[in-house]
Symmetry: C2
Subunit: 217 residues, 2 copies
Amino acid sequence: MRISELSRLSGVSVPSIKYYIREGVLAAGETDGPNRATYGDAHLARLRLVRGLIDGAGVSVAGVKRIVAALDDGLPLNAAFGVAQDAVPLTGGADSSEPSDVATNAVAAVLDEPWAAHHPAARVAARALDTFDAVGEPLSALWLARYAEAAAIVARADFDELERRGDPAAQARIAAVGTALGDVVLQSLRRIAQATEGERRFPSPSPSSPSGQENPS
Amino acid sequence: MRISELSRLSGVSVPSIKYYIREGVLAAGETDGPNRATYGDAHLARLRLVRGLIDGAGVSVAGVKRIVAALDDGLPLNAAFGVAQDAVPLTGGADSSEPSDVATNAVAAVLDEPWAAHHPAARVAARALDTFDAVGEPLSALWLARYAEAAAIVARADFDELERRGDPAAQARIAAVGTALGDVVLQSLRRIAQATEGERRFPSPSPSSPSGQENPS
């Protein structure tokens, strides 16, 4: 297909497609004349992946580049996860300050494996705990343990989903996309669960319409 | 104390403190002469909250302004949660495209309450599911159900933490800070749990040092 057709099918503008090609996140089309290139279904699939990571999960173009390079290289699974983890920035991950020993130990105490305490995300979690302390609202160890329990549940779900796929390329794809978009799903469902749990414990006057809609009853 | 002392104790520069005062996220000091103002412990506590939300949870200054206004107004709990949910942007929440009916129904199916399907975050979750479909890796209903289970666990942990506090001001504070920073803790622990689960299912050659450290054994 021509680039105009690729644009129509993907919903991505022609200038954006050309930008992605320049940035190396999308392969160039097959040239069949001056200023004429042909694109195939692989281009369409790749464009959907790129837009899903950028629009849906807030991954930067540089991050997408690392992820698609990993997919194209046929990296082993753990490496694909590692690349995705590096490419999808953690909120609060840019802060390089040192967490307190108390918070570092609190995080280490809820992890299943001693080596996991050296994961870069452990520092991010510990700094977040320090912030709760700093605003005068320290958290209980039970709170953190239940967050860790929830994280283990979703990680098992991620890997079960991965193992349902036999094809290594599909496994690498779900590892990369799942790392990025799984965060989005989890954050969204947490917001909804907070609203639901809040309504359960502190019912609003009109319980069937806590979202502010009209309640005809 | 003087602004210089407030800056030293909080680690926030004097220009930043003045900026926060102009933006209305920090109350002005008590004027006791031309160009002289005195600040108290309440200013220090507020500054720590502001920096925790901005640096630790990526909340914008405008978002912080809404959160602190809610705290100062002594809003009821559900309102405090609502303000925090609005102020802390969901990744992917800026996308206003309509999710598919299939994804919308899949999200509704894992929620405890019918009204919860109208929560704005349900659209964000549904759009994320659509992206998995678009890249050719649709997810199982079981995956989503386990994410919802994890979200319910953390929401209960959040409210238990809140109910441990008797003081309504402290409850509102933990609701606001917990909404923002709980995301950070959950996202971090998910990364670590993925690494741990990956190592369990696909052990690296040197299992005691999957993070790439030397293994002397």
